[in-house]
């Protein structure tokens, strides 16, 4: 199908200004937040209504044209990297908050609504939407559903899947699918849980109903310094073992604090090898009790210094460094590659040591920020794409971290998704029969395979090829060292 034929068919169902086809119009859509992968789409469509979304899908289905849905384009795994002969379906114009119901504590949203906007709209009622990915100022709720996004408060408040009550949208065949609803329990299979985090492979979501929860009266954060990263890792386990579930529990290594401090002036202890941020929220009495307990545990775990935020401004300042770790990486290095594995908390120490060893082997620096409370790592590998060979080394460095995550009993992606980026690592984490099960699920929703092809779930052939590459690649680093 050539571009002008598809454009003509889409202009039958959309106003002319909703179909972009000129090179300079397509260029801004050639990548999402993972800019190392770029691909210009055949066309971009910007429907304004749910009916238009359905009509786009029906048209593409009829013409057998691939469809890649896109929210705000902040994704970090290339989940909305365009397809060269496909339509990029932007949901950006479906950006209305349809309803905030303070009594039922719910918000009904179009998919293009920004994450932070939901909490802003709910704030007058003392409510907010809990999942808070670092990109929350820009990322869309539809994208959050596609990726099952997390954030820094997941340990206590859950991921997107725990906070979405209902979705509606369409299959590639244009069939309306409504999942979940105002009541908590539903008969039949939990397809809502299946679709959340399905990375645009199963359906296109046009409406999302989320749960709003009461904003805690108070939050305070303890910032603790450690002379050794392993001590900091053990302190995390000690907090959990003491029966405390902090609202947030984050760790940054010295390379990360040194990178962000000049940038945000958060007041981090730059002499510490690692710092922990542990937040307590609730009533003033509860927060005071929990902070005292956290301090006690951290002191016993070997914290060398501790500061407790004494005002909301100070709390936000402590967090600002953590929330700005990615831009800070961009400030000290021409490029950076952010990984997203999860491991059991107890393996934080061994993982950090292994990363240090990899830094030497790949001759690349890596700064580490972790959602330590839930074992979710974000190593930021620093490189310069203009230096020949550096991106390839960074890519292999990242893949090795992910393989180690799997071996340590974890996963290749905690919250960023597989997308196009980690598709080969899926071959490491899942067996052929498991991947085949994923393909069967895909086929149940989308028999044509037109929705976001080539993402998230590798074909069996692709994994066979990747396996061969691994064997063939003589330069696979240090195949002889012990791996755990």
């Amino acid at each position: 199908m050539n571009q002008s034929d598809v454009a003509a068919a889409l202009r039958q169902v959309l106003p002319a200004d909703c179909v972009l086809s000129r090179d300079e119009e397509l260029r801004p859509y050639e990548c999402d937040g993972l800019s190392v992968f770029r691909q210009k789409p055949m066309l971009v469509v910007l429907p304004r209504t749910e009916d238009e979304v359905r009509d786009v899908l029906i048209t593409c289905r009829r013409l057998e044209v691939p469809v890649v849905a896109r929210g705000a384009g902040t994704g970090l795994s290339g989940g909305s990297t365009p397809h060269q002969s496909g339509v990029l379906l932007s949901l950006a114009r479906l950006n209305r908050i349809l309803q905030i119901d303070p009594i039922a504590r719910t918000a009904r949203l179009q998919p293009g609504v920004r994450n932070l906007k939901v909490s802003e709209a709910a704030a007058p009622h003392g409510l907010y939407y809990a999942p808070d990915p670092s990109s929350q100022i820009a990322c869309s709720i539809g994208g959050n559903v596609a990726e099952n996004s997390g954030g820094v408060h997941c340990l206590k408040y859950g991921l997107t899947v725990h906070n979405v009550l209902a979705i509606r949208g369409f299959t590639i065949d244009g069939d309306l699918v409504e999942l979940g609803g105002g009541a908590p329990d539903h008969p039949g299979l939990d397809l809502l849980a299946l679709v959340i985090g399905s990375e645009g492979l199963l359906m296109v979501v046009t409406e999302v109903t989320v749960k709003l929860i009461p904003r805690p009266q108070l939050a305070r954060v303890v910032m603790a310094s450690f002379a050794d990263v392993r001590d900091a890792g053990n302190a995390v386990a000690a907090i959990i073992a003491a029966g405390i579930i902090p609202a947030g529990l984050e760790m940054m290594d010295r390379k990360a604090t040194v990178a962000v401090e000049p940038f945000v002036k958060a007041g981090y202890d730059l002499s510490a090898e690692a710092i922990l941020l542990a937040e307590a929220d609730g009533t003033p009495e509860e927060v005071a009790d929990q902070i005292a307990e956290i301090e006690k545990v951290l002191r016993a775990a070997g914290a060398t210094a501790m500061v407790v935020s004494s005002s909301e401004a100070e709390r936000l300042r402590f967090w600002s460094g953590r929330k700005n770790a990615f831009p800070a990486a961009g400030r000290i290095s021409p490029d950076y590659y952010c990984m997203d594995g999860t491991i059991p908390r107890k393996n934080l120490g061994p993982m950090l040591e292994a990363i240090e060893d990899m830094e030497a082997r790949y001759s690349l620096r890596c700064m580490n920020v972790f959602h330590a409370g839930d074992g979710n790592l974000h190593p930021l590998i620093l490189f310069d794409a203009n230096t020949p060979g550096e991106w390839e080394r960074a890519d292999r460095f990242g893949a090795e971290i992910l393989e180690l995550c799997v071996r340590l009993g974890g996963t290749i992606t905690g919250e960023h998704g597989v997308g196009i980026e980690k598709i080969n690592s899926m071959c490491v984490q899942f067996s052929p029969v498991e991947r085949d099960a994923f393909l069967r699920i895909k086929a149940a929703f989308d028999a044509t395979g037109l929705l976001n092809p080539g993402k998230a779930i590798p074909t069996l052939a692709r994994c066979a090829e990747y396996g061969k590459m691994h064997v063939h690649r003589g330069d696979l680093p240090h195949a002889d060292i012990p791996r755990f």
């Binding site: 299979l189 199963l202 579930i245 009790d289 929990q290 996963t411 099960a437």
Partner: protein
């Protein structure tokens, strides 16, 4: 017989059933034999022998156990470390297996405040019709690799195969717990539950029966105390409180002994009292309502639930013409059938258990 041998035998039974197209009825402790559609003449596959806790590290907040492990065994292991299953699965007067708990996906009174069974599932292993062992999810809190099949299996009633192993998130037991009692009619109670749910209070249960609203508070003792002061109400003696919440959780409240049909209605929690005869037992802050209803009245409770944006299941008593479970929306039914066909093409697992004819 040792564990690998038990698994080997399960696989052989499944593979042979698949080859001979012999339907199997997957069964743990049998506490939910009553739950779901009448079963066909399927052969029972007893899953109790495949049991035991595989892994439990309190600081990781996760327990992994084989499907036949009794719930009591898991709960007692957790209690030794001050932890618990926060979704409070119902034991239904006996001792279900963890496989049955997850396959049914039922949750207790804490469901609206701590989460449902599916919210706590981190990983699951499936023995499928071809005898393959598939692992989904894992033991970590955050994991978005591949479709979330482990949550799909929660509440799947075994229609995709044997859930042989599950990893479930656990939580520390709240430091303090207190139950308050308020005399008020149902309408007022539902309104109060919604109002309080919108405030930063450490709620962990909100129920109503026979003119009395019951509120449970859980958390740091300072938070529980402050909330009690704020809400007022009459403090319930701890033993009586535990009895009350356990009766609700395990479906042992007197309403479950009714000789009438018992309907379980899942509703938006803001739904005012329905125009049905008799008062319901209300749980989940208004979102779960149990009605003992005359079987002669057909599916009146279902019609009322639908009109309020909810669904209704006939928990016990003769199933109405519209089925024991609330009918599925057509697109959801179509997707369910396709998934079932892809995973269990000969339909050997629990035929008819979720949907008649499937």
């Amino acid at each position: 017989m040792d564990t690998p041998a038990v698994l080997k035998e399960l696989r052989e039974r499944v593979v042979s059933a698949h080859q001979q197209r012999q339907p199997l009825r997957l069964r743990g402790a049998g506490t939910k034999d009553f739950y779901a559609e009448e079963s066909s003449d399927a052969a029972v596959l007893d899953l109790c022998p495949y049991r035991g806790i595989v892994d439990y590290e309190p600081s990781e907040l996760v327990v992994t156990a084989r499907c036949g492990t009794p719930l009591s065994e898991i709960e007692s292991a957790l209690a030794d470390h001050g932890q618990f299953l926060a979704f409070e699965p119902p034991a239904l007067g006996s001792d279900p297996t963890i496989g049955g708990v997850i396959a049914a996906g039922l949750s207790g009174p804490r469901r609206m405040y701590a989460g449902a069974a599916r919210d706590f599932v981190l990983g699951a292993t499936l023995l499928d019709a071809r005898g393959d062992i598939l692992r989904f999810g894992g033991q970590v809190m955050k994991n978005v690799a591949g479709f979330d099949v482990s949550r799909l299996l929660c509440g799947s009633l075994g229609i995709f195969g044997v859930i042989t192993e599950v990893s479930v998130k656990v939580l520390p037991r709240p430091r303090a717990e207190e139950t308050l009692r308020f005399e008020m009619p149902a309408r007022e109670a539902v309104a109060a539950f919604n109002r309080w749910s919108g405030q930063p209070l450490p709620l962990s249960g909100a129920a109503w029966w026979d003119g009395v609203a019951w509120i449970r508070l859980s958390g740091a003792s300072s938070a529980v105390r402050a909330a009690h002061e704020r809400l007022g109400g009459e403090r319930v003696d701890p033993t009586a409180a535990i009895q009350w919440w356990n009766a609700l959780r395990h479906c042992q409240h007197p309403v479950f002994r009714s000789s009438l049909s018992l309907w379980r209605l899942s509703l938006p929690d803001t739904t005012p009292p329905l125009a049905l005869s008799g008062d319901p037992l209300i749980d989940w802050g208004g979102a779960l309502r149990w009605y003992a209803y005359d079987p002669q009245s057909g599916d009146e409770p279902r019609k009322a639930a639908s009109a309020a944006g909810g669904t209704a299941m006939c928990w016990h008593g003769p199933a109405p013409a519209s089925g024991r479970f609330h009918p599925l929306k057509p697109t959801v039914a179509t997707l369910t059938r396709r998934l079932k066909d892809h995973f269990d093409p000969h339909g050997i697992f629990n035929p008819g258990r979720m949907i008649a004819g499937l």
